[in-house]
Symmetry: C2
Subunit: 408 residues, 2 copies
């Protein structure tokens, strides 16, 4: 949580954090959005140890700057047009700007940089900064950085936002299932009023409108049928007809205006499910329940990934643990944290060192799955789970998990 940042800075010997904006219009700079309440603006957040964060902003965005609730300093204090007169080269001008800002705000010592930006340009800039400001040690944290670790546990306000996004997301899925059920069956496909087959593209258009009606955004999502459902990240082919008796993987991970995401997957068959799908679905469902029952504060996340691999292997399915290249069976990881990003800390890695333990405030997905693209099916069940202040694991995904959706 945000309140842990001073402690983490002390542990890592960091004197200041610099979080680079902008968050233009796509909400794709989560570390910056974490401080700016997802306001859209150009600027830089500076956090000195044991001081309140402050935002350097531009006049043009003074309303958005006010709305962040941060302490504010207008960038006009360091007029760029004057710097550019002396330093017409833009890289030199930028370094000079930071020299002045750091001097005036007494930013020195070990200073770590965060935010999402063009990696090559920042590599050039930070290298030059490190050379030219000797009183600043430029730090880049590679893994589980201070802000990522703070964001890993959510405070009550964040959880309330995520709960609301979860409810709205589930409402979209329920509306979609009603939409499907409202269609007639002809032969083995759903058909529209004009007699033509309902397609994946038609369904996706319906989902996009439902998302917009509820103030949700999701640039991409998965509605994949049959063989495509068997490829975990296949998003579905627009021209595919919606057929009975095939697995449909519907994976939706929108955010609302707060910038917080939900992530849910349901797998269903319209009308009926073939026996091999029924068996595999039962295995996924039981794996899901087995994991849910075993979630405990203090346990290492990787434990659950290994647990679910062994669970599936005992039932005869290949997994990434025994065969890392497999594209059949259980082929991904059990889950991931989410919040301002769809994928953030914690992770549930199959391999490598993992010291991350479940703790109060974490919000993450549990999403076991089984895939067989050659047999033409894929199954994934995914809820978003929250570990509350009592260490209880609650689902934020109020939605049933039924394999067969009856049709007319």
């Amino acid at each position: 949580m945000k309140r842990d940042i001073p402690k983490r800075m002390a542990e890592r010997g960091l004197d200041a954090l610099v979080i680079e904006g902008p968050d233009g219009t796509h909400g794709a700079n989560p570390a910056f959005a974490y401080f700016t309440r997802n306001q859209h603006l150009v600027g830089t957040v500076i956090v000195k140890r044991d001081e309140e964060p402050l935002l350097l902003y531009r006049s043009m965005e003074r309303d958005a700057a006010e709305a962040t609730g941060l302490r504010l300093i207008n960038l006009d204090r360091w007029p760029l047009h004057e710097i550019l007169k002396e330093h017409p080269d833009r890289l030199e001008a930028r370094v000079e700007l930071y020299k002045r800002i750091f001097r005036d705000l007494k930013v020195r010592g070990r200073v770590a940089f965060y935010g999402t930006g063009p990696i090559g340009a920042f590599y050039a800039f930070l290298q030059k900064l490190a050379r030219e400001i000797p009183e600043v040690e430029v730090v880049g944290e590679f893994d589980r950085d201070v802000i990522a670790v703070a964001r890993e546990t959510k405070d009550p306000e964040e959880v309330e936002r995520m709960r609301r996004v979860g409810q709205e997301t589930c409402a979209v899925i329920e509306a979609t299932i009603e939409f499907l059920r409202a269609h007639r069956v002809e032969g083995n496909t759903l058909v529209k009023a004009d007699g033509r087959p309902l397609t994946v593209g038609d369904v996706k258009r319906f989902v996009r409108l439902e998302l917009a009606k509820r103030g949700l955004e999701c640039s991409e999502f998965i509605f994949a049928i049959g063989r495509d459902a068997g490829v975990p990240h296949s998003t579905g082919r627009p021209d595919d007809p919606v057929e009975l008796g095939k697995t449909i993987v519907f994976d939706l991970f929108p955010k609302d205006a707060s910038g917080y995401h939900h992530d849910v997957t349901r797998t269903f068959c319209l009308g009926y499910a073939p026996p091999d799908v029924e068996r595999a679905y039962r295995d996924v469902r039981e794996a899901f329940e087995a994991v849910r029952e075993r979630l405990r504060v203090g346990e290492i996340t990787q434990t659950y990934q290994h647990f679910v691999c062994r669970f599936f292997e005992e039932r005869g399915h290949p997994t990434v643990l025994s065969d890392p290249k497999t594209t059949r069976g259980y082929v991904h990881s059990l889950g991931h944290g989410l919040g301002l990003e769809v994928h953030e800390e914690p992770t549930f890695p199959t391999f490598g060192r993992c010291e991350t333990r479940l703790q109060e405030g974490m919000v993450f997905t549990v999403e076991p799955g089984l895939y067989d693209p050659e047999a033409g099916y894929g199954i994934r069940i995914e809820d978003t789970v929250y570990c509350d202040e009592d260490g209880e694991f609650q689902s934020l995904t109020p939605l049933p998990k039924e394999l067969v959706v009856p049709v007319r």
Copy 2:
């Protein structure tokens, strides 16, 4: 254009470009999307000089990888689980992975890195890479990098996409004006069927649905009235009623599924316009036309920013050229390139060195404006303009520019 990349690499002595993914789900990694046709996937694009680009991808995303049309190499060729056994630290494992990839693919010499990512993590990674792979010189380009300069001019396929997005965007604006006009007037505000005032929030909800219906995405846009219209990047307050006789700045910059954006602003008053607004609108409109008439291939972009500043100053308006801190008058730059980002090359800077010249294939905005937040108005007129292969400048924004929108 993409075909210019080998020449630019040669000019800058670059042996390879490495463009880091992922483009997760937000389309916020434009350099990567430029090569991957806006497919959503984890991976890395490598461009060796005078060779076709290739994509390193994961099995889970093999469908998206196929859809990029790039040469493909599955990352399974360098099994991460094996590397992690020897190098459990994730930064060390990542450097080792790149050592193997660069060795096997013969990537060496001056290698420049691109893509949007966490700047601190990449700073740590690229520094370590530079230290540990002596046969590679890690390059970060700060300004107008090879890919940005390639993207600055659009090929015919890109222009066709942008033309379509422009048509759809203008249709949304026209539908919104019809929506406004369909409301009754009571006193000085528009009212809904239930007698309550129509608000900025109501209008924004309408716009979001219209965008979704047309397959457009725009996480944020500006629909700001009166004083808020006077602050260029103020997005509008949801509870504000839609009143007659006040300027409404409507600035919309969506993208479609191709990832390409349009950007248009119209300013209008419902019912009538006050005389000071009429005068200022005429000045903005004439500034717009004067710039449009003067656009010429080969001219330096900054020339137009200085031209429009002088144009406004002659009519008595303060500008950023004479008073860089002004919040009244003309307070921003004349325009910006757009494509896979809303803001990309070319720029039209007021200050600093600028050697960018207008050329065939460029797509950019022309958007003069005048603001007076204390008087309670703001005016901006913006079209997206394309310089075709004959050096003619075409508008991609088929939309009238009328100040007064009549109401019932």
